[in-house]
C-alpha cells in the first residue's frame, strides 16, 4: 500500500513548540485519514528548527465504497415528498427504489452507493485544511498576502510544502494542493548554511537519507543522542564529567539541524561565584552545558556549546565568540554576587514595604511579619528554637531583593542561604532560606531541621489562609497561586516529620494575623481542613493507597491533627486488608443497612443502651459482651494513639457479629425484643466509630 510523505518547510520554529507540533501533525492527519475510511499501518512525525515532517505508511490507495440505505416516503405519498426523496438519493425514478414493509405501511427505500475516492484526492482535500487550522500556540501573518483577509497563519513564514504519495516500487505522485500561494511539490532545502541547495524528494526513505547528506538530522531523538554522546565524550576526554540537563538538551536539539558539540573555557577565578549561579548564567543565557570535576564534584572552568555548523576553521571562531559572551555574563554574575554580599539581608527588608504581595493581602513586608509571628508560634510545636525560627523567618525572603535572584529567579532561597552564611548567621537560620520553600512538589525533598520546618509551615499556611480569606481558592484546573501544592507541602511536612499540631488552631491564628477579615471567618478553618482532606485523598490515590478511608476518618469529626489522621488511615487500611477487617466491615454495613431501613419505617432512631434483661439468645448475649469489651479496649488504644491495637481489638468483634447475623432474627415478633436488637445493632456501629465511620468506606 502507498505511503505519504509530508514536509512543511518554514523559517525557524521555536524550540519549545517543535515536539508538540510534530505530534499534532501526526494526530491530525491520521485522525482525518481514519475518519475518511483510510486505515493506515503506521505514522511517525519529526521536527527540526525549519521543518515539520510526517510519514504515514500503508494507506489504502482508495477509500472503500460506501453503501447506505435511506428510507423514503410511503407508497402513495404526495408527489412533493417523492420528488424530494429522488433528489436526496439521486435515483432517477421510483423504479430504482426498493419497497420495505413494516407495521406502519410500505415504504420506499433508496440505496445510495457512494464510490470511494482515491486516497490521493482525499489527501489533497484534508491536508490544506489541517495546515490552515494547525494549533500553534502563537502564529503570525507575513509578506504581501498578509494585506488581504484570510491569509495563512503559521508559526513563522511557511516557504515550501512537500507532499508525495505512492508505492515504494513506483515514482510517487505529488498530492496537488496549495495553501495561500504555497504549492505542494517535492522540493525542499537542506541545512541553511552547509547545504542550502534545493533537494528533489520521492518518499520518506530517500527523504531522511537525502537530508542527512544535506547536513540535516531529521529525528530530534537522534540529534539529542548525538549531542549527549559527544558532550559526554568531550568532557571525559579532558577528565571532566558533563552535568546532564534534560530540559536544556531538549531545547538545544530544537535549535540545530546539524549539531556540532564544542568545548570552551572561562577564567578559573569565576569559580569563586556559587556553582548554581554559574550554571544558571551559562544555561539560561547561553544555552550551554557545564561540566564538573569528578574528583571534587565541583564545577570546572569549562562549558559545552552546541553549534549548528561545521565551521571551516574547526570551530575556533565559534568557541572564541562564545567564550567572550560567557566571560561577560559571568563577570556580570560575579559582580552581582559580590554586590549582594556588601548588603546585609535585613537591610533589604524595608524595601518590601513598597512591594505588593497581593492587592488584597498587603505588602511583602506585612506578609513577612505574619510569617515571623506564625513561625514563632509553630516553633515549640515542632521542637524548634523560637529565637532561631523568628530570625530565620525574618530573613527567609530577603534574597528576593538581591541582584542575583533578580537575574536568576530559580536560585531564590539558595542565594539567601549563601548570603546568610556569609553574614555569620546560624546554620539552621541560613538553611531555612532555602528549605522553607520545600517541598515544591511530590518529588521534592521535605526539610527536617525543625527551624526550616516551622518557617516552611508558616509560609504555606499563611498563603493558604490568606487566599482562602480573599476567596481565591483553586477551581478546576485553575490554581494560579499553587495552593494545592502548598497544602500538599503542609501534609508532607507534618506526616514525614511526624509532627503533632492542630491545623484548625494554626489556621485560626494565621487568620487572626490577616488585615482582611472575611465575612465567613468562623467557617474558614474547617473549610480549609476539608481542602486538606481532599489533598490527602489525592496524595493517597497517587501512592496507590485507598483514599476512601480519608472520608471514613474525617467523618468522625473533630479531626484536625493530620498525623493522627494519616496514622488512622494507615491502620484502617491494613485492618481492612485482613479477613477480619473485611468481614467486620461487611457486618457493620449490614447492621447499618438494617438500621436505616427500620429507622425509616419507625421514623425514629434506636439510640440508647440495650436492655440486658431482654436478651434471650446466647449469640445476643455474646455480642453485647464483646461490644462492651471491644469498645473499652479500642477506646483505650485510641487514647494512646495505638491505632493498630484499636484495630486488633475491633477484630474481636467479628466472630460474635457473624454469629449474631447467623442465628438471630432482628425483626422479632415481640416489639420490645425487636427494639432491643436494633439498639444492639446500633451499638456495633457506635463501637466501630472508635476508629472510623465504616459507612463511608467503599466496598
Amino acid at each position: 500500500m502507498p505511503d505519504l510523505l509530508l514536509e512543511l518547510f518554514s523559517e525557524e520554529i521555536p524550540a519549545r513548540m517543535q515536539a508538540k507540533a510534530a505530534d499534532d501533525l501526526r494526530r491530525m492527519v491520521t485522525d482525518k485519514l481514519v475518519a475518511e475510511g483510510l486505515v493506515y499501518e503506521g505514522a511517525k512525525a519529526f521536527a527540526t528548527p525549519r521543518r515539520l515532517a510526517l510519514t504515514v505508511h500503508g494507506i489504502p490507495a482508495r477509500q472503500p465504497d460506501l453503501k447506505t440505505e435511506r428510507r423514503g416516503p410511503k407508497i402513495g405519498a404526495p408527489d412533493a415528498a417523492v420528488q424530494g426523496f429522488l433528489k436526496a438519493t439521486g435515483l432517477k425514478s421510483l423504479d430504482e427504489a426498493k419497497i420495505q414493509r413494516d407495521p406502519k405501511g410500505d415504504f420506499y427505500i433508496g440505496l445510495i452507493e457512494k464510490p470511494g475516492r482515491d486516497a490521493i484526492d482525499v489527501l489533497a482535500e484534508i491536508l490544506p485544511v489541517i495546515i490552515r487550522t494547525f494549533p500553534w500556540p502563537k502564529s503570525m501573518r507575513w509578506g504581501a498576502r498578509s494585506g488581504k483577509p484570510g491569509s495563512l497563519n503559521w508559526v513563522r513564514p511557511l516557504h515550501a510544502i512537500t507532499a508525495t504519495f505512492g508505492l515504494e516500487t513506483e515514482e510517487p505522485d505529488v498530492v496537488k494542493f496549495s495553501v495561500d500561494g504555497v504549492e505542494a511539490g517535492q522540493t525542499t532545502c537542506g541545512h541553511r548554511f552547509l547545504a542550502p541547495a534545493p533537494i528533489q524528494l520521492r518518499r520518506f526513505e530517500d527523504y531522511e537519507a537525502k537530508l542527512l547528506d544535506a547536513k540535516v538530522v531529521l529525528d530530534p531523538e537522534r540529534r539529542k543522542d548525538a549531542i549527549l554522546t559527544d558532550a559526554k565524550q568531550l568532557a571525559f576526554a579532558q577528565g571532566f564529567e558533563l552535568v546532564e540537563d534534560q530540559n536544556l538538551l531538549d531545547e538545544v536539539a530544537g535549535l540545530v539541524e546539524w549539531p556540532v558539540v564544542l568545548m570552551g573555557s572561562f577564567e578559573p577565578e569565576f569559580l569563586a561565584t556559587p556553582g548554581e549561579v554559574i550554571r544558571a548564567t551559562i544555561r539560561n543565557n547561553q544555552k550551554c552545558f557545564v561540566v564538573s570535576d569528578p574528583k571534587t564534584g565541583k564545577l570546572a572552568n569549562k562549558f559545552i556549546l552546541v553549534a549548528n555548523i561545521e565551521a571551516t576553521d574547526g570551530g575556533a571562531t565559534i568557541i572564541a565568540g562564545n567564550e567572550r559572551v560567557i566571560r561577560a555574563r559571568l563577570s556580570d554574575a560575579k559582580f552581582f554576587y559580590e554586590t549582594d554580599l556588601k548588603t546585609k539581608l535585613e537591610e533589604r527588608l524595608p524595601k518590601f514595604e513598597q512591594i505588593v504581595f497581593h492587592e488584597k493581602l498587603g505588602t511583602q513586608a506585612a506578609r513577612i511579619k505574619r510569617i515571623e509571628r506564625l513561625a514563632a508560634e509553630i516553633a515549640p510545636l515542632v521542637g524548634a528554637d523560637v529565637a532561631k525560627t523568628t530570625r530565620a523567618a525574618h530573613l527567609a525572603k530577603a534574597d528576593l531583593l538581591t541582584e542575583v535572584v533578580g537575574e536568576f529567579p530559580e536560585v531564590q532561597g539558595l542565594m539567601g542561604k549563601y548570603y546568610a552564611l556569609a553574614q555569620g548567621e546560624d546554620a539552621s537560620v541560613a538553611a531555612a532560606s532555602e528549605e522553607h520553600y520545600k517541598p515544591q512538589g511530590p518529588a521534592d525533598r521535605v526539610p527536617t531541621d525543625p527551624v526550616s520546618v516551622a518557617v516552611a509551615l508558616a509560609d504555606k499556611i499563611d498563603t493558604l489562609v490568606g487566599f482562602w480569606a480573599i476567596d481565591e481558592k483553586p477551581t478546576g484546573s485553575k490554581d494560579p497561586y499553587a495552593l494545592r501544592r502548598a497544602a500538599l507541602g503542609v501534609i508532607r511536612l507534618i506526616a514525614e516529620n511526624a509532627l503533632r499540631l492542630s491545623l484548625m488552631k494554626v489556621a485560626a491564628s494565621a487568620l487572626a494575623g490577616l488585615s482582611v477579615k472575611p465575612a465567613d471567618a468562623s467557617r474558614l478553618p474547617s473549610d480549609l481542613l476539608a481542602f486538606f482532606a481532599d489533598r490527602l485523598k489525592v496524595q493517597l490515590r497517587e501512592q496507590g493507597a485507598r483514599h476512601d478511608l480519608v472520608d471514613a476518618v474525617f467523618a468522625l469529626g473533630g479531626q484536625d491533627d493530620l498525623l493522627v489522621i494519616v496514622r488512622r488511615v494507615e491502620a484502617l487500611g491494613k485492618f481492612l486488608d485482613s479477613d477480619d477487617g473485611k468481614n467486620l466491615l461487611a457486618g457493620t454495613k449490614r447492621a447499618g443497612n438494617i438500621l436505616s431501613i427500620e429507622e425509616k419505617k419507625d421514623k425514629r432512631s434506636f439510640d440508647g443502651a440495650p436492655d440486658a434483661a431482654l436478651y434471650s439468645l446466647a449469640e445476643e448475649k455474646a455480642l453485647a459482651k464483646a461490644i462492651g469489651e471491644v469498645k473499652a479496649e479500642a477506646n483505650a488504644a485510641v487514647a494512646k494513639e495505638d491505632f493498630a491495637a484499636a484495630m486488633s481489638a475491633m477484630a474481636k468483634l467479628r466472630p460474635p457479629v457473624d454469629a449474631f447475623f447467623d442465628k438471630v432474627r432482628v425483626n422479632d415478633d415481640d416489639a420490645k425484643v425487636r427494639e432491643n436488637r436494633l439498639k444492639l445493632l446500633n451499638e456495633i456501629r457506635s463501637a466501630t466509630r472508635a476508629v472510623a465511620d465504616f459507612s463511608k468506606i467503599q466496598d
Partner: protein, 312 residues
C-alpha cells in the same frame, strides 16, 4: 565585504565604516536611507518611519541609524557595554519580502560576519512594546552565542493590525562592532578607522557624555519640570489630534498625525527620565505606560487617515 574599501573604511576596523557598510547594503536592497529622527527616543522603533509607516497598505522600505536613549541604562561610563545612549540600526520592509532572512544574513556578510566560521542562529523572541501597543513574532539573532539583532514580523502597531505585515530588523551597532573589531570595552572601539594620533575612539566621542548624562538622569534631572513636560506633551498630543480631523467628503481625514506623534515620543522619553530618577512608583508606572499607549493608539488611528497611512 567590499574588498575595494580603503583600510580605514572597513567595517572590522572602523565604527563609522561599519555603519556605512550597513547603509550601503540596505540601500542596494531598495531601502530609503534616512537620517536619525531629531528627537530623543528609547528605540529605533519609535521613529515615525517605523511606528507609523508600518501601518497602512502602502509599501515602505527604509533603513536608518537611530540614537537610542535609555536613561536607566546609564553607568557613568564605567560598564564595558551598558550605556544610556547608543545606536540602533533599523531596517523596515513592508510588506516583508519572502527572502528577508537571506537578506539579513547577507547584511552580516557585508559587515564581515562570515557564516562559514560563525554560528548564526534564529532563537525565538517575541517582541512586544506595551507603550506602543505593538507586538510581533520573530527571533533574536545569535552570532556565536551573542545576541546581535532583533528580527520581528510586526503583527500589530498602535493597536492596529498590520496589513500587510512589515519585517523589522534592529542591529545593536556597538555590540556588533565590538565583536567584529575584537574589543571588550565599547569605549575602545575605533570610531574612524585610523591609527596613531589620527585614531578617534568611541570613548573619545561619547565617554564624557555618558558620565554627564548618567549624573543628569539619576541625580539632577529636574523632576518638577519633567512631570510638567509629561502633562504638556500629553495635552498637546491630544490637542493636535483633535485639531487634525477633517471631513474629506465620504471619508474622514487627518492632517496632523506626525506633529501629534512627536508629542507622544516626547511623553515617552520624559517618562523614561522620570523612571530613571526613581520618582515613579510601581503602580504609577503602569498607569504612565498606559497613558503613552493611549497617545500612540490615537496617533496610529490618525495616521491611517492620512495620505501616507491610508489607501490611495
Amino acid at each position: 565585504m567590499d574588498a575595494s574599501l580603503p583600510a580605514h573604511m572597513r567595517p572590522e576596523r572602523s565604527f563609522q565604516g561599519f555603519i556605512l557598510a550597513l547603509q550601503r547594503f540596505w540601500a542596494e536592497q531598495g531601502c530609503v536611507i534616512l537620517q536619525p529622527y531629531d528627537m530623543e527616543m528609547g528605540a529605533g522603533t519609535f521613529h515615525p518611519a517605523t511606528t507609523l509607516r508600518a501601518l497602512g497598505p502602502k509599501p515602505w522600505n527604509a533603513a536608518y541609524v537611530q540614537p537610542s536613549r535609555r536613561p536607566k541604562d546609564g553607568r557613568y561610563g564605567e560598564n564595558p557595554n551598558r550605556m544610556q545612549h547608543y545606536y540602533q540600526f533599523q531596517v523596515i520592509m513592508k510588506p516583508s519580502p519572502p527572502n528577508l532572512q537571506e537578506l539579513y544574513l547577507k547584511s552580516l556578510a557585508a559587515i564581515g560576519i562570515d557564516s562559514a566560521v560563525h554560528d548564526i542562529r534564529f532563537v525565538e523572541d517575541d517582541w512586544e512594546s506595551p507603550t506602543l501597543g505593538a507586538w510581533g513574532l520573530g527571533w533574536e539573532c545569535w552570532c556565536d552565542g551573542m545576541e546581535v539583532s532583533q528580527f520581528t514580523y510586526f503583527q500589530q502597531v498602535a493597536g492596529f493590525e498590520c496589513a500587510p505585515v512589515a519585517g523589522e530588523l534592529t542591529y545593536g551597532l556597538e555590540r556588533l562592532a565590538m565583536y567584529v573589531q575584537g574589543v571588550d570595552r565599547v569605549y575602545d572601539l575605533n570610531f574612524n578607522g585610523r591609527d596613531g594620533d589620527a585614531k578617534v575612539t568611541y570613548g573619545d566621542v561619547f565617554l564624557q557624555a555618558e558620565q554627564e548624562y548618567s549624573r543628569h538622569n539619576f541625580e539632577y534631572a529636574d523632576t518638577a519640570m519633567l512631570f510638567e513636560q509629561f502633562k504638556m506633551a500629553e495635552a498637546a498630543c491630544k490637542k493636535y489630534l483633535d485639531a487634525g480631523w477633517r471631513d474629506g467628503g465620504n471619508k474622514k481625514q487627518h492632517l496632523m498625525a506626525l506633529p501629534a506623534y512627536d508629542q507622544c515620543i516626547k511623553a515617552s522619553h520624559v517618562f523614561n527620565l522620570l523612571d530613571a530618577r526613581g520618582v515613579i512608583s510601581v503602580t504609577e508606572r503602569q498607569s504612565y505606560i498606559l497613558r503613552v499607549r493611549e497617545l500612540a493608539k490615537a496617533c496610529g488611528e490618525a495616521w491611517i487617515h492620512t495620505e501616507a497611512g491610508g489607501a490611495a
